[in-house]
Subunit: 547 residues, 2 copies
């Protein structure tokens, strides 16, 4: 249970601020994350890691000399927005290119990937590294679909050391991919976790049972069994990992025995005794094992075991000194405080205030209608928040209601502000879209934001909003959502309502119907389609991982 909070929606941000206040020697707060407070040489590859909050020490606890240059933090269990990833990474860039590291979750893949695209369009060389260590999350022949868990720490530590050693971006990427290819994790859970402010747990494990391979947001595992003694559990974890040993695996392994939040360190020490014995029996040497909390999930009970099979280079990077809030190895020595770079100065300051393009009175009037639509949408989603969260907790990580409510509220506020400042229809819709993507977090936030942004590109700040433009906007939104999310009709996503809506809108407008009436009729079609999808899950936009 999470007891120490002021307001649930402020939890992640307050936690990050508090963390930065405790460790001014190591980190400083920037919007959406933390940067090293210590100087890094120009030209060094920037290792920027991140993901949702609620997983401390992941990810801010790993920023410092020898490890990451920056961490991006989304809301609790929600991917940071594309803009935040972009901004934090741009601030961390020192001219040597950027490695973006994150766990392989759909939202993170989407947002870090889109941020990478935007950074590249600004002339920065960027590589993305989704970590895929959780062997319970997909079969051996589908490694690229596996989730990232505590293996993040091994992979990012090794990548960070390679970057610190002055390797080029190509080389750092190579080392990081090798580390990921040789990293496997397997875990069990004894109890679920509770989101800040939530009345009940996001997910639970029946008393006396352990969830085998249960994900850190409650994603389905591979089974349940009665809790076994520590020595048996150690044998189980080690055996499963050894079955998954990568090609060319040697006898030296970096090991992380990770507590998920409410599992006592002394319990992990007890388990370690048996894990160490199993390793000896298997002829393996544990190199500088880490036993403690490294990637947590709020107050979840359970543990995971991670192996990275080392070669000489990986072992050197695993053992290299680092100095971060959560992990110190060796002696890093004194490091001068960082100075603000030009790139950072460019990102800060009042120049980023939006200035809306000049708009015609007709388009301004349409903008007011759009802002009103966002407000009604936000009210409806606020009302549905608890329901969406509850349903999502059965299929996903239970944050969908919060994300939709937060995103739509931000969109409504931004659209309202833009409209009041005189923006036209396209700008009002774009303002709402960007705010949604930036504040909602998660996969669905990115998909809603990018979908609405695609719609905005069909509108104008000067021309009237005709029925044809509305149809075009809807078509572009649908295309964007399907492309980004990888979903097609019948996948039980947002598309199942949006596609009939767009088809109806096309038919009505082609038949000469006006925009307002065509919209109303198509909305009814969409509502019926949604009802018809018998067990429509609230996975609006929760598509499969990309790639």
């Amino acid at each position: 249970m999470t007891h120490l909070l002021d307001a649930p929606e402020a939890f992640a941000e307050q936690a990050l601020q508090g963390f930065c206040a405790i460790h001014p020697r190591l980190v400083r707060a920037v919007p959406g994350g933390v940067l090293r407070a210590t100087a890094t040489p120009a030209g060094k590859v920037a290792v920027v890691i991140g993901g949702g909050s609620g997983h401390y020490p992941a990810f801010a606890g790993y920023v410092g000399p020898g490890f990451a240059d920056a961490a991006v933090a989304g809301d609790v269990f929600a991917s940071p927005s594309t803009r935040l990833v972009h901004d934090v990474a741009a601030r961390a860039h020192r001219g040597g290119g950027i490695l973006l590291g994150f766990g392989n979750y759909a939202g993170d893949v989407l947002n870090f990937g889109a941020a990478a695209e935007r950074l590249r369009s600004e002339g920065i060389d960027v590589r993305v590294l989704p970590v895929t260590d959780d062997i319970a999350s997909a079969a051996t022949h589908e490694i690229a679909r596996r989730r990232g868990v505590a293996g993040d720490v091994a992979v990012f530590k090794i990548a960070g050391a390679a970057a610190e050693a002055g390797l080029s971006l190509d080389a750092v990427e190579l080392v990081a991919r090798a580390a990921n290819d040789r990293t496997r994790s397997f875990g069990v859970a004894f109890g679920g976790c509770t989101l800040p402010g939530a009345a009940g747990p996001l997910f639970a494990v029946p008393g006396g049972q352990m969830g085998i391979g249960l994900g850190i947001h409650g994603e389905p595992g591979i089974g349940e069994s009665p809790i076994v003694p520590a020595s048996e559990l150690a044998a189980l974890l080690v055996r499963r990992l050894l079955e998954e040993a990568p090609e060319g695996a040697g006898s030296r392994v970096a090991v992380i025995l990770n507590g998920l939040g409410s599992t006592k360190q002394e319990e992990l020490f007890v388990l370690w005794g048996s894990v160490a014995a199993e390793l000896r029996e298997a002829g393996l040497t544990a190199v500088a094992p880490l036993v403690g909390e490294y990637v947590t999930s709020l107050d979840m009970e359970g543990c995971s075991l991670t192996f990275t099979w080392l070669d000489d280079a990986l072992e050197a990077f695993w053992l290299a000194p680092c100095d971060t809030a959560a992990l110190r190895i060796g002696a890093v020595g004194e490091v001068a405080p960082a100075e603000e770079t030009e790139a950072e100065r460019g990102l800060a300051g009042p120049s980023s205030l939006p200035l809306w393009p000049a708009a015609s009175p007709q388009s301004q009037a349409s903008g007011r209608i759009i802002a009103g639509g966002f407000a009604r949408l936000a009210a409806a989603l606020k009302e549905a928040e608890a329901d969406l969260g509850r349903i999502d907790a059965q299929a996903g990580d239970g944050d969908h209601g919060q994300g939709m409510a937060r995103g739509s509220a931000a969109a409504a506020a931004a659209a309202q502000a833009a409209s009041k400042a005189g923006a036209g229809a396209a700008s009002v819709l774009a303002a709402g879209a960007n705010a949604w993507a930036d504040r909602a977090g998660g996969t669905s936030g990115a998909i809603w934001g990018l979908g609405l942004l695609a719609a905005a590109r069909a509108l104008s700040d000067t021309a009237s909003v005709t029925a044809d433009r509305v149809r075009l906007a809807a078509e572009q939104a649908l295309e964007s959502v399907m492309t980004i999310g990888g979903a097609k009709p019948g996948d039980k996503t947002l598309v199942d309502a949006l596609a009939p809506f767009v088809a109806s809108l096309s038919a009505e407008t082609s038949a000469g119907c006006g925009a307002a009436l065509a919209w109303r009729r198509s909305a009814e079609v969409a509502a019926n389609a949604a009802e018809a999808t018998a067990q429509l899950r609230p996975r609006l936009g929760r598509a499969r991982p990309l790639g």
Copy 2:
């Protein structure tokens, strides 16, 4: 809930072994605790800390250069035995004297105090420092009765740095006492904890409530209230501590914001934001604050805030480098591994095998009777274990049943072994007594052990066990128990049964009754006395803190 274990009775020992296996650079296991694995100069004051297990990082996590030289670990929530404290401290001694640091709990006061006496009798200068930081555990005018909680870490860190700086034992003691005098802690609990292997929690906090000042073993606090937002809690904690500011308090404070086990680090970060604001408002500067898990209580939910008001010397020691598993400050630099000292070699090895004095056949026969008595006692206490634990959980920390069962079983085994090896009555009783004290842990273990040892001194390995000797043995046991425990008849302790027993035995034997019959009659008297003590709590030996 504690899930990772093999056997409850092995939990503490296995955890310690696992811990040592993870950190061979810093610590090495010795019976009952850990020593630094790194070399310390001859003549340096040894800072030896300890207490029950279940509180990691307290205490083994603080052994290393710049902090403690050794840590003694009892069973879960049970004081280590006198012998273990003695042995670990003797191994850590480097000729400069020893500071024994522990929280002010009756069992620790007793065992560390008795170990200090024994070390002094061996010519080693020893000072004892019971930490008394918990302001909720006794009133301001009774500071010496207060318990030690997370303030342990501030006091021991400062003492360790003073010792590392080469100060004399006198000076280290002075610094440590100054730190303790200026250290205050205050905490709240949202949930209790569960002993390894126990079916239910040792104590609990009603849902939505917080226990104010609740002790880390569930000792009564000063009240309960509904859970408040983090900012209000911060104000409460800071205000109460400031009300308790010591004389001559300045504006610079060492701060520890401590999680009790299942409270998330990110929650502590959220709370820290408000604590820092309260400190600023009060005109105080937080010097190198620690925010995380520093003294835990298994899976207890809650937190405590500790202030140590610094002067220049205390601040220098607080900020001095240290290198331990749980806390690293600054750079300690390379330290050579330790070599085994002569004192250590003396403690180890087969020379410590017991050799029993030659015994007469009559005394050997009496020894067999005593060993049989221990066996019946152990069986009875095994049967009563759950009941004793349950009742103790309401008044104490719930470990009484486990301790009595463990102690009596160890005594029975040792007495049996001694008897089989031909030991006489005095030696068999002494062997059982020592085993009880060594294995039971806690205050009651020490009291039972020392009481039985006093009885053994009235017997002989050659002369017959006469009725007079039995009476004398009982009288000496009673006197020892009352002296050590500080209890008198009517305090609802073991004394309420033992005193009538001894009085009856005296009367019966004076009247010429034989030993066996006098014992049986007196045992009935004692049983009746126990029944008569209406609500006799199982605090057999749980006396007030000494001194």
